[in-house]
Assembly symmetry: C2
Homo-oligomer: 534 residues x 2
């Protein structure tokens, strides 16, 4: 019953409101982004803020990979780091991916686990060391700090994946808004909302919200492991800065937890339902928009697929080259299909490529996903691509390679909207079977269409929601009424450990008094009887 | 920085959207309301649903106090109960209030606590017995059930204060939406969201979210007490029905926890920030609207107050008469003020009433609260009045008498927007001082204005939000993707008790093995040495 509000209408409302919303003066916003695919999201938000008349200033490092020094919609502050550990370089990720695939190939084992963290942890520490160095460079630079003060910013907008912005915000006494999914210790919710490990999958653990006993044990261990890594490997980089600049009374973690608004890049058609907080605002899919017409050549290629339709494949911006033994299997499977294939591929060209497959260095992914001829999307499971797929209702063949991609793919598989492949175990045969199943079994498309209709049925477009709450923080100088301060309690008070111990002590004392009294009475009675007998 | 979107604009948006929102066909909604002030809220929601073209059917008892049999905006199903325990009668509450005031007068003590529950618990049980009888009457009536089935309702909307509607919804296999603040065991959140007693005040305990150790102990005890009352006094009435009609596999509490959407009559300018869930939608203040012009006589009276302004007093619809020893003190204090007073008063007229005080049996409360001459509102702390005060930014002198009114008043006092009086300790002197403080100390008004501006600054009017989510449930036949099913887990699994025990056991075993091995080695070494020596 009931017809659904169309996509176009939803977006029409969003675009109209973004232009005409009343009574908002221009604000001054200081932005601390994270480079790479995170920047794609942040940049979109900045563009919208600029269009609304706000002045945006972006802090970047001189070696930044994605964040350009000059752009029409922001001015930038460039910080040169002493020894630029250029972690963001392409080569780094090519090598990293190769190592990770090697480990993954060996299958799930304790040795694999150790090898994985042996590779991962030094890089993680190095990234945070670099970010904290950026903090030092800013906080030590008196001219820069004075100019920041003079600008009289209204708020700091930051991606807390690299949370150095919270230190600067604290120094400038400014309210903060997070554009967040990942934070130092994993998924953002874990820092600010209750997260029972009995049904909330922890970061790095690809399980659903319905776990058996073994999965719950693993999930709990994962939680402890993430906490330990955060506490001993990540936080010390920032703790040192907090100690040096703000003294012993300020706690780095409290600065993180004290953000006014968490714009969470999550939607519950994707994430499993879980506890949340009043200052968490969900903006998952805020980057999505209707597709635009394709170029005439691409449209011609797509139309040439006839009734069979088209398959898209892209493994994201980070992955420059899959090993050739994998790509040749993929190419062989594609060659067997009656569908046409558009494959975004940067590395060596497989020599067994079929006539039906078009290799491109870049593709208009969103416009293609919105094309009615597209039957399936072979994707690595980055969130940008996933939300675009959900938006357009295209089922996914997941091929996760790194980081959160495994968990992301699993979330769609759990809803019956995707089938996930292990890239290291991929053969032309099993890849072909998977493709055919996703194309021909209508449940995948139907489930994705259902997710799409739920995702689109919102009172406001998520981008509009994000802008509303950023401007709310500007108008009211924060959002303290939505933010609990319970994180300032000691852990034993927060978890009522002291109260429970106290109540147990009282109970034991009462029991002791009762038992003691009874014993005392018994002894007295016995003695009396004895005396009588005697 | 930034000017606030005006009230009128917010409401203009709301009313326009409610009329013109696209693509929604008429739904059929079955409503189980709660009588009294709860009905005032539910009725408003029903009126809006009717205006949107939905067909609404309300289930009522023949002796219903507020819910009329016929109304232009709904059709009703009237159920006659065998022995109508007409709990809703006015006399009942007059006697109940007198008893409660008597207990309150004696001050906080264990005896007072026992007396209070001695009075309260039988009434509570009786109310739920009556509600469960209503359930029996409906579920046993085959003609009625068949006609309900034939109508093909789209959903059930209910106030889970008396949760019999969830049983009928389960029988009819319909999705449910709650219009809720109170549920069987207290405040609604406690049933569906994590609620750490370390900083979330439990129902019936008037404390803020920042508690000292003693308050946290009391809060935890309150939580246990509420749980015990719910488990042994309230739920059995419904458990029996569930057992009889749905068999042993269905659990009444799971039916409650499984509601698709919780429209929570709460706003965080009022409630302390606390954990929540994705399917909780906040609609606090959805009943509020801009004021309309007063009648000419009332306007004349208000204007005659000159620069001093007007004070309003109303203790809500439930309270028909305060004891005359209190009202005469109130009248005497009012007579000392230069302000004019409008006092909604039903009982005996105090004979020491000043010339400045107008006694009325009813007043256009919302229109008066929106009048710029109104300086303060003497209120009992019912949520309708509180949200109207917040909406119009009028500071409150709280005089809580029953139920949640104590907690409600405390929430505003904690924000510096109200001062609370103990009605049983009220004298003309302390009442006058309190009034003067709230009128002359600008902080009360400023704080209330601040709450007002935060409350009004929303992307959508809360009434529009409520309608959106009701129609969402109609369109998608529920909202399962927002609802966790973790409540179906056993308590020890939910709280990871089994996992923690298992991990501790493993740890102990490992320790035992290590210690054992070391001991074994030591013994072997010692023996070898001995042998060598020998």
């Amino acid at each position: 019953m009931g017809s659904l509000p169309g996509v176009s209408l939803l977006l029409l409302v969003a675009s109209v409101s973004l232009r005409s919303s009343p009574g908002v003066d221009a604000g001054k916003i200081l932005v601390f982004p994270v480079d790479g695919s995170h920047w794609v999201n942040m940049n979109l938000l900045i563009q919208s803020l600029h269009a609304r008349g706000h002045e945006v200033t972006v802090v970047r490092t001189a070696t930044s990979w994605y964040v350009k020094e000059s752009a029409p919609h922001y001015r930038s502050i460039t910080v040169t780091l002493p020894e630029a550990i250029s972690i963001e370089e392409e080569d780094f990720f090519v090598t990293f991916l190769a190592k990770m695939l090697e480990i993954q190939k060996e299958g799930a084992s304790l040795l694999g686990f150790v090898k994985f963290y042996w590779e991962m942890l030094p890089s993680l520490s190095m990234i945070h060391q670099q970010a904290s160095l950026l903090g030092v460079k800013i906080l030590e630079n008196k001219t820069l700090m004075q100019s920041l003060r003079d600008t009289q910013f209204d708020m700091v907008l930051l991606d807390p994946g690299l949370p150095v912005g919270v230190l600067v915000a604290h120094e400038l006494k400014l309210p903060t808004v997070f554009n967040v999914r990942w934070i130092t210790s994993g998924e953002g919710h874990f820092v600010v909302a209750p997260s029972p490990t009995s049904y909330v999958p922890t970061s790095g653990n690809a399980v659903s919200d319905k776990m058996n006993f073994g999965q719950r044990v693993k999930n709990t261990l994962h939680y402890f492991f993430n906490t330990i890594i955060d506490k001993f490997l990540v936080c010390p980089h920032y703790d040192r800065l907090v100690e040096r600049y703000f003294g012993p009374d300020v706690n780095f973690y409290h600065l993180l937890q004290g953000a006014d608004i968490w714009l969470m890049r999550v939607d519950f058609v994707f994430e499993f339902p879980r506890p949340t907080m009043p200052n968490i605002v969900y903006i998952g899919g805020f980057q999505c928009k209707p597709s635009e017409p394709l170029s005439s050549e691409l449209e011609e290629f797509v139309q040439s697929s006839g009734e069979h339709g088209v398959i898209l494949m892209s493994l994201g911006t980070l992955v420059k080259g899959l090993p050739v033994e994998i790509t040749s299997e993929i190419a062989a499977a594609f060659a067997h299909l009656p569908q046409k294939v558009i494959w975004r591929h940067v590395g060596e060209r497989p020599n067994n490529l079929g006539n039906n497959t078009l290799l491109v260095k870049w593709m208009p992914q969103n416009d293609l996903l919105g094309h009615p001829k597209v039957k399936a999307f072979v994707a690595h499971g980055g969130t940008n691509g996933i939300y675009e797929s959900i938006f357009h209702g295209v089922p996914i063949v997941g091929m996760p390679l790194l980081f959160d991609q495994f968990e992301n793919c699993l979330r769609l598989e759990a809803r019956g909207a995707a089938k996930v492949m292990d890239a290291t175990k991929l053969t032309r045969q099993n890849f072909l079977e998977t493709l055919q199943e996703v194309i021909h079994n209508p449940s995948y498309r139907n489930n994705m269409k259902r997710l799409s209709s739920l995702h689109l049925d919102k009172p406001m477009h998520p981008l509009e929601t994000a802008i509303f709450w950023i401007e709310f923080v500007i108008r009211h100088k924060g959002a303290a009424h939505l933010r609990t301060e319970s994180y300032k309690m000691s852990w034993y008070a927060y978890y009522s450990v002291d109260v429970v111990c106290f109540l147990i002590a009282i109970l034991l004392m009462l029991t002791a008094i009762v038992v003691g009294s009874i014993r005392f009475l018994c002894i007295r009675l016995c003695r009396r009887k004895k005396t009588k007998k005697e």
